[in-house]
Symmetry: C2
Subunit: 224 residues, 2 copies
């Protein structure tokens, strides 16, 4: 049993949000540039202490909304990071969460708390504060695994999308190219998307059919 009684333990509980999107053919994570010492001008995941009456998931939703304005996206708990010295300001454990957002719907606005906010490709990250390098690494592994057996990509795409765009999302996250015909065959069998009947015109080639996801909630499927 713990030596400490409930009254003497003094640990703070925070949430960090790894918010991912696909931008310019790359998997990107949202980072904020910090103002305060000892991490002045360093990049980090957005986060903060939780409030007394909220869950960590609610806190993550709050942080997501503050950063991107979005609310109805895929969000899950990643894991808890709790090395005693991870925060130089004191003992703070962080329950990291992952969110997937469609790039189109986000317009980033810097606020007074941060020096800057921007998307960074996960393959070209700047040095990160705290243990956030590891958080991002585990996030990417989790998502890479999870897109293979669930429908969570719905949260990375706009409401209507083409099959080629859908395939690109898988290719970017998995880091490998996929066969077009096999991919379409697989997607068709899964019944997780439906044709809208519309087409995307305006490019100098054959227009592509537009699709939507049937469910914007977690479904287990075998995609890849």
């Amino acid at each position: 049993m713990a030596k400490y009684h409930a009254s003497t333990q003094n640990i703070k509980v925070a949430v960090d949000a790894a918010i991912l999107t696909i931008r310019e053919d790359e998997l990107c994570v949202l980072l904020i540039q910090m103002k305060k010492a000892p991490f002045e001008a360093q990049w980090a995941l957005p986060g903060g202490l939780i409030e007394e009456d909220e869950t960590t998931e609610t806190a993550a939703q709050r942080i997501l909304k503050e950063s991107t304005g979005l609310t109805q996206v895929y969000l899950e708990q990643l894991m808890t990071f709790d090395e005693p010295d991870r925060d130089p300001a004191g003992r703070v454990i962080s329950v990291a969460h992952v969110a997937l957002v469609p790039d189109e719907k986000v317009s980033l606005t810097t606020n007074e708390k941060y020096m800057d906010v921007r998307w960074w490709p996960v393959s070209k990250l700047p040095p990160l504060a705290y243990d956030h390098k590891q958080v991002v690494k585990i996030t990417v592994e989790r998502i890479k695994t999870k897109i293979q057996y669930t429908n969570i990509v719905w949260s990375l795409l706009p409401k209507e999308f083409t099959l080629t765009e859908l395939q690109r999302v898988y290719e970017i996250i998995l880091g490998e190219t996929l066969d077009k015909r096999n991919f379409r065959k697989r997607i068709a069998e899964l019944h997780m998307i439906k044709a809208t009947g519309k087409k995307r015109y305006g490019q100098a080639h054959r227009p592509a059919a537009l699709y939507r996801f049937k469910d914007k909630k977690l479904v287990f499927v075998q995609v890849v």
Copy 2:
């Protein structure tokens, strides 16, 4: 950002340990029977507050050792449970961990803190305190998934075991029978165990060859 400053947040951090084993052809979890109100005589996972200078994993190892005497077993973080009202005594978040132990090496001893300690089949649980019913449910799902693509069963078996015993562990956890020849073919291809050259005599039938795991650390393989 949180309304609360670091100085005002008052949340305690605990660890609960879901310790699993295979006993009498069933997947079992170790539960303790509590003494104190409001959960007097109720069953719960062993756990407790973490100490200021330890990680939640270290705390889970400590709890595991106190409960079973074991140290070198498979242990991983499951997830964090943090509903504000999960503990009637106040705001306590719990970082649940899962451990897998070989039944043979454990001899349970009740101590003064608990009314009783015993193994319970996960399919026949008593009412549980806190949110522990859900913790056990998620634990079982995690292990069921994870034995299919890793070598973690090493932690459920004694040092030397027969192929039939190994197969039984998979069958019990997955809840389905497996074909003996196909199972052995698969196991042989994975190279995760090696023959000891010894055999188990003493039963009224052909003696079975004994095997050991090569690595007692996490390895990714496709078992089933």
